[in-house]
Symmetry: C2
Subunit: 237 residues, 2 copies
DNA sequence: CAGTGGTCTAGACCACACA
DNA sequence: GTGTGGTCTAGACCACTGC
């Protein structure tokens, strides 16, 4: 095979994406412009329609283009960019920084679901829940405080589980499937207990994540994760 | 045409995704299991390999599966789920709640880039930047304070732009292309100025987003967006 | 080397949305 | 009706990677 005389390279969907992005950037196709249809683009780029389709579909998923049947494809004027965040296990997040991960169980109790939780998870009045408080450390400094509630009816085996060495998040992930997740981030002031656990000053700001998961309309668990001082969640795209 | 006797439906990639997810949930394919290859799955599902491929590719993108050539496709033991956040314009975010959006320019000045900004954006010493402070209101209550810095060398026309009625974010989006974005969220305490602008108590926690954008290695702008009391960023998947 | 996923093709039919 | 994107197919070649 003669590598010095390469055959005409095929146009890939990546090529098409790059070309389209270039035209958008250099304003060949300004915002709100209607761009040619897939058949024409395929002819122009010298590739099949499927290749163009994949390129355009991905650009639409990324929020760059807006596609509609019959109307055609338009350059999105306000690129409502989708930021993707990777939500790792605490253990992985800590170890990724090179720090040693340590987990500790703070408390564990089974009780009737309190009203606020019943409302949030849509539980009936006599629902029993497992309530856990845990701490996750990075190099022995508190990294995350986990306040977790598990719906026992949805996960009966949770009552027998031993959470003294393995965190509930890892346990649940390996034991319980889920279909839906709601994730919410906010900034809150540390109360006395939280300040204590995370070694913060009272009312210091705390980055908070709340996660609720369901298995087909059945609530499984609610967790409030409070992060230590200086935590940032970062992404690039 | 007899609709009562529908032809055998074709298997779609959505069907395949659902089937695969079901098998993962009911532990037919437990975590870490190696699942059949695309050719076998196509035969089993009665569809073409391309259809299976698309289903599996999307599940891998979503973090459910882990795919490797030669090795095959494995069920991800720790579903490092990718959470997608839609990052809209402030205007759209406010108006989506039904509130009236209002924008106000607080201050505007051209100056030498301060050292911290030079370091952050990798600017040379004599770089000039436009510094803007803006407020975004929802029903006349402060919603977001925007502290923005624009690299004039990257966007020369910004010096002539009028930001008294249109926010810099909207202006930049419509005027300047970009290739890379870094986005970072954190919780911070309000300083006196911020408390003033956002009608907060001093040192109250503030949800903060910082966004830096580049156009091919050339830094374009850095913005720190501080949100008013009670702000949440939420997503479902 | 051989098995797996990654991609391209050419053609086909369909679903939607606008006129 | 008609034009657009959405998807499926059957087959092909390629690229990576573990043996």
């Amino acid at each position: 095979m003669n590598k010095a005389t390469p055959a005409a390279e095929k146009t890939t969907y990546q090529n098409v994406k790059q070309s389209v992005l270039r035209r958008i950037r250099d304003r060949t196709w300004a915002p709100d412009t209607l761009i040619p249809n897939e058949v024409d683009l395929a002819r122009e780029f010298g590739c099949s329609r499927s290749t163009v389709n994949r390129a355009m579909r991905e650009l639409a998923e990324e929020g760059i283009l807006d596609r509609k049947r019959k109307t055609g494809t338009r350059v999105n004027a306000t690129p409502v960019r989708n930021a993707k965040f990777v939500i790792p296990l605490v253990r992985d997040e800590v170890e990724a920084t090179g720090a040693a991960y340590r987990y500790a169980l703070v408390s564990r109790e089974v009780l009737q679901a309190p009203p606020w939780l019943r409302a949030r998870l849509n539980l009936c009045e006599e629902s029993r829940v497992l309530h856990l408080n845990c701490l996750h450390f990075a190099n022995n400094a508190p990294f995350q405080f986990e306040d977790r509630w598990v719906n026992i009816m949805a996960v009966p085996t949770v009552e027998q589980a031993d959470f003294s060495t393995l965190g509930p998040n890892e346990w649940l992930l390996s034991q319980v499937p889920f279909t839906d997740v709601e994730l919410s981030f906010s900034a809150n002031a540390a109360d006395a207990r939280l300040a204590d656990f995370l070694a913060l000053n009272p009312s210091e700001p705390v980055f908070t994540a709340e996660r609720t998961t369901w298995l087909k309309d059945r609530p499984v668990t609610f967790a409030r994760l409070s992060f230590g001082r200086g935590y940032r969640m970062t992404t690039r795209y």
